[in-house]
Symmetry: C2
Subunit: 383 residues, 2 copies
């Protein structure tokens, strides 16, 4: 039905009306005092979200731009890095690192499994020459719905003493706790169309003091993504290049809403939705794709047996106007994914499970008692 | 007065209500068939705007991102390039080229003067070893309000036979004729907050077949700005990274409006507004900053004598809610700039001149007959 589509994908995520309407304000001059106030205010709010006293910089770009900026600003050609790879985004950072001439040692885990912190500890301890300059990994691996143990891996990196932790927090920030300073994260990349409850178009990079020290020695060529330019401008409540003014209006509105809700509530909400989605799927006999205990609070990947996941996903869209995500690469047709990230309330999760259950029932593919998924979800939401 | 500010700066430029409201639609999935239709449609429209049968690619970024992409995708480390520099943006492309390890030969002109095509011809003819790989220049130099003779310079580049023409058309595209194929331009960079009548956040790069041939040998490291990825995705009506979906809604609406108006009308309108702004300023005894006959159709820079340009500019904003641009770098306080770019009608230019004239009169700084500026502008608008 026209205008009725509900997004339950891991990005773009649903956007509150307040934020949408902020987008439609007429742009103002990006060098005006009025805009500087917005930059100052949102910079403070971003530090709150990242739980850091360091810099959080804003660029016009996607989450990949944020990660590229984070990597090329603290490393030099030929530097050795450890890259975690247990999904499509892990793969991407390996490719990106190689494109910039870094020497990449990959620590892999099967898709659906979490990265093993012990593998990182072992590789870092074996590096007695302290040649490893950075560990690059994805916190919430969107392609598989797995959350990696960033806290433990970052602690191993700190114990190494030289390497930096560069984390893709694109689908974890604003969905789970990412205390940048407390965990000792050095570079945190994210994008606006996720936990921020905004449309895509803004990229964010948090930088620790250690990251800025590394910036001074970095020799990879850069200009548009040179974070030194963004830092200098941000300290004057400005941007080095024309920023997407209307997306800044949206950012201000969205961060205001997030502060009103509070970080603890946001984190609890996403954890509750993970539990509810997992309970509903399990009760319907639909296996979860992520290993038990390692599901992301942002997204639940489901691997139905005896059913083409694409058939199910399309039927849910056609019958109930809910857009679920499909599987990527070799998971296409094998997996569908429920995004419960950002502006998602209990009703949305209940509705998504109900729609999946009704669709299964309609297709004659429900393996349990019709209504069992709903009941389990309702119980999980009640806590 | 609240909500009354009118932008007469060279970006962000005024945005039509139709485009603003398109921005506030709820985002849709960027891998959906519905979004693919928008990518397909806007790609065709962009080719129309660039007057090319080649590719025009869309990225999340600013105009600088477009230019960086254009440069790093067709060149290799150590390549020799000629850079035109007659203002702040010319300076920027020199810095950017050096940041990527290019060997830069600068052809300068004083601020306010156009680049001399003969200087390019001479340098290109002297290069009998055909070492010059590209000529990089700004078509409309926003800092000084000068339009450079891109057509003639590009013809000299074609005569050289090896070098490519990489043009910053950020404030010329959608304001004057930029027939990419007819002039033999190889790379054309632009940004959404200019002639496109949109908020900032989208960057565009037009690429000729020669540019794609150069892409194959380019060795500068790239990933987010790797245009090969954008070309591959565009040919499947898609994007390599999550695109700013809402800015795409705006793009579709804006390009639709531009096609309705027609390229000839758009070009004629900007030329008329240049003539009207120039006539008004001259009639009030305010000298134009750009050399006679070389003013940009997008922006008129004015260098008042015996008046601090910032004082005048601020008074116009406070009294009449019109935002003019100030001078950049050493021109601060010496120059103000009237943007007449994008969604600007005759009334807007008439109003801007009237407000400047009334302000001068109020400050006791009008050097001619009060009303002379208005009369000259009205006459120029009548054609």
């Amino acid at each position: 039905m026209q205008d009725k589509l509900t997004l339950m994908i891991p990005g773009p995520t649903p956007v509150p009306e307040t934020v949408l309407l902020a987008m439609s304000r007429h742009p103002i001059g990006h060098r005006s005092a009025e805009f500087q106030k917005i930059v100052k205010r949102t910079t403070e709010q971003l530090k709150w979200l990242h739980q850091t006293s360091g810099d959080v910089l804003v660029m016009s770009g996607s989450g990949t731009a944020a990660m590229e900026a984070g990597i090329i600003n603290v490393l030099s050609r030929g530097d050795k890095v450890l890259c975690g790879d247990n999904g499509k985004f892990g793969e991407r950072w390996v490719k990106l690192s190689k494109a910039f001439g870094l020497e990449v040692q990959v620590i892999k885990a099967e898709w659906g499994q979490p990265l093993d912190p012990e593998a990182f500890r072992a590789a870092l301890e074996a590096d007695t020459a302290k040649e490893i300059r950075a560990v690059i990994l994805t916190h919430s691996e969107t392609s598989t719905g797995v959350i990696n143990d960033l806290q433990t891996i970052a602690a191993h990196v700190r114990a190494h003493g030289t390497a930096l932790t560069i984390a893709d927090c694109v689908t974890s920030l604003g969905a789970c706790d990412v205390p940048m300073d407390a965990w000792g994260l050095d570079v945190v990349g994210s994008g606006s169309q996720k936990g921020y409850m905004m449309p895509p178009g803004l990229a964010f990079v948090g930088m620790s003091d250690r990251a800025w020290t590394a910036y001074e020695r970095s020799d990879l060529p850069k200009f548009y993504l040179d974070l030194g330019k963004y830092r200098k401008a941000a300290h004057a409540d400005s941007n080095p290049f024309t920023p997407p003014v209307n997306l800044y209006f949206a950012l201000e509105a969205a961060l205001e809403m997030m502060q009103q809700e509070g970080l603890e509530s946001i984190v609890a909400r996403h954890a509750r939705h993970r539990a509810a989605a997992q309970a509903g799927m399990t009760a319907m006999g639909l296996p979860l794709y992520a290993a038990a205990g390692h599901g992301s609070p942002a997204i639940t990947a489901v691997a139905p047996e005896g059913v083409d996941a694409e058939v199910l996903r399309k039927a849910v869209k056609e019958r109930f106007d809910i857009l679920l995500a499909g599987g990527q690469d070799h998971l296409k047709g094998k997996v569908f994914r429920i995004g419960h990230l950002g502006f998602v309330c209990d009703r949305d999760v209940l509705t998504a499970v109900a729609a999946i259950e009704a669709t299964l029932q309609g297709l004659g593919l429900h393996k349990g008692t019709p209504g069992a998924g709903m009941a389990a979800t309702a119980a999980a939401l009640a806590g």
